[in-house]
Amino acid sequence: MNVFVWRRAAAISHKEVFHILRDPFTLATALALPVFMVIIFGIAIEFNVKNVALAVSDSDRTQSSRRLLDTFGSSGYFLLHSAASPEEAMSDVTEERARAALIIPPRFEMDLFAGRSAQAQILVDGSDNSTVGPVLGYVGTIQGIASQRIGNFTPPNIYELRTRFLFNPELNSRWFVIPGLTVVVMAILAILLTALTVAREWENGSMELLLSTPVQPLEIIIGKVAPYGVLGVIAVAFVYVIARTVFGVPFVGNLAVFGLGCLIFLLTYLAMGILISVVTRKQVVAMQVAMTVGMLPTQLLSGFIFPIESMPVFFQYLTMILPARWFMSIARDTFLKGSSFIELGGAFLALSLCCVLMIFLASRRFKRDLEP
């Protein structure tokens, strides 16, 4: 009696397929949404900070100070606008009209010609951490250029750091973002697709019916997960084509390795959705839980933007329970580095463990429902 019968799982799948087909909105969302998101954010996201609004207060008004402004303007990093006084430059930062302010004091040129070091002040808006680092870096570069152009100063060059960026030589933001974005979008989508399925049956009363049949919990779970898994794989295939053709992201790895990782990853999140559904039994609660579990942790803790290595040690271990973290490294490494299955063995093992655990927990919790 308690054996797993494929035919019964297939019957559940069959029914779920009808359910999906009857609701064109869900079907369209599942297929089109990932592609749509990847296109929009593939265009939108750019890590190389440019056009930083810079408020300039020049109290010196000499040829040297104008040449300094010119150096800032022609660097391409800054968009300059003048402020009447240092106070106004400062208030531009407070009013979000400028990200940084450059204040040139009255004696700038005099100091420069006298051979003293000419001072100028830079104020950087620290309320947005992501621009502070790059802006400080640009200021350093411009200091060198300006010293050379205005002060005829050439620093002695005794060493030279030649950096080679492997796997993404031009530091193309898109190559980095798109594989990660795919992971995040698919995780949230998968969890939402199944999070309501079982709860819905409880609310509609059709669960009672299902329970009176000989079908087993594991069969229900497999049956419900399988069609959405197929849907997810098709969606990822679309995204893959867009990434390669529209954005020119290289894929140097083995497609089969990526595909296998993708399948396990989708199953894990679909099973997680079912688990939420089984535990909550109410669609309102299930949806809130799914949003909470799916949305923010996958965006913030999976290593998508904020590196896991920078977290405190305890949290580095905590992210290990997040399946998206593992597929994130599989996706990035197969796309850009071409890592083999063996090299990714650890990630695959962890991902598979998560997957088995989710399916196991979902069917365990289900069982208790069957035999109250």
């Binding site: 949404l33 930062v93 000419a118 309320s127 951490n129 400080l136 005794i158 796997f167 309102v284 405190p312």
Partner: protein, 366 residues
Amino acid sequence: MNRTLLGFIKKELVQTLRDPRMRVLLFVVPVIQLTLFGVAISTEVKNIRLAAVFDSRDTVLRDIYERSIAGRWFIPARGQEQDPYKLIESDKADAVLVPPPGGFTRALGRGHAPLQLLVNATNVLQAQSVEAYLQNIIQQTLRDDLKFTQPLPPIQFTTRVLFNPDLNTAVFMVPGTLCMIMIITTMVMANIAIVREKEMGTFEMLISAPVSRSEIIYGKTIPYVILGMSNFPLILAVAVFIFQVPMRGSLLVLFLAVFAFVCTAVALGTLISTYCKNQQQASLAGFLFIFPMIMFSGLMFPVENMPTAIQWIAYFDPLTHYMGLLRNIMLKGGGASYVMTHIAILALMAVVTVIASFRRFHTTLQ
């Protein structure tokens, strides 16, 4: 306010909070999430695994390596491999310093010393930081080891980082995550409140009851505005007392901004609900809206970096304005014209969405 509406609001609040799990989700989970993200996330790149290929005579390079490890950004790479490329390829190191043949120290003696740095650039953000960090360390080491003092460039900048001089990530992240958490609780709740009734069929009952259309809309939205607002002091307390996020502006202005945002989010949820037939659709629609809203809000990627056309989309994202307001008020004390403009924009968005949902309701009810 009339009695029908009051009763309606009461019923809605009771219905939502009756389930203890819902109370936990609305009041406890946001606090946990805020704490979790506030502690865990750092925008500063740290713990980069560095390796350097040097022999015992190459004292300067060894010094550079040891100083890097002693600093807070780098940790030693695990592998013992000699091939620098393999070290990175097999994921044992993130960056490797490779000296010219004969060693870096000897090359310095010759007057021309190229030092090669291999960086794993699969993570663009990390790769960018590595180079800058190492430049600093190398310059410092050369200054100390070779007694080599570079003459000061004639132009000097004194830089000051305003509002967050220590570049404490929590100060910047916590107001941001606070916004993200709030949009999920308010918008999703408001959306599902109506869709649930539609799916259950109780919406028909509501229509046939002696309540007016506006009473239905207000009764379905005001409770969620109340819930969203009651949520806020709690997470604000966590931000200010646990994470020491400064609160430099006026509390009143802050609450005004929060109120404008919560109204917009609830109105948007209501508008979306008129298009959804069941809760499955509502949850996907929630994703369809909330995910881009978070991505465009400027928390993970600065809006200024985006192409102009895309920046326009970001201006239609209420979360962008809310996050800007929250940071401006909390960290900068609130620039009067900025705060007023953006609260006005949020209010306008709320009004437009409320009008739109009134219209939609009209057609749905007939």
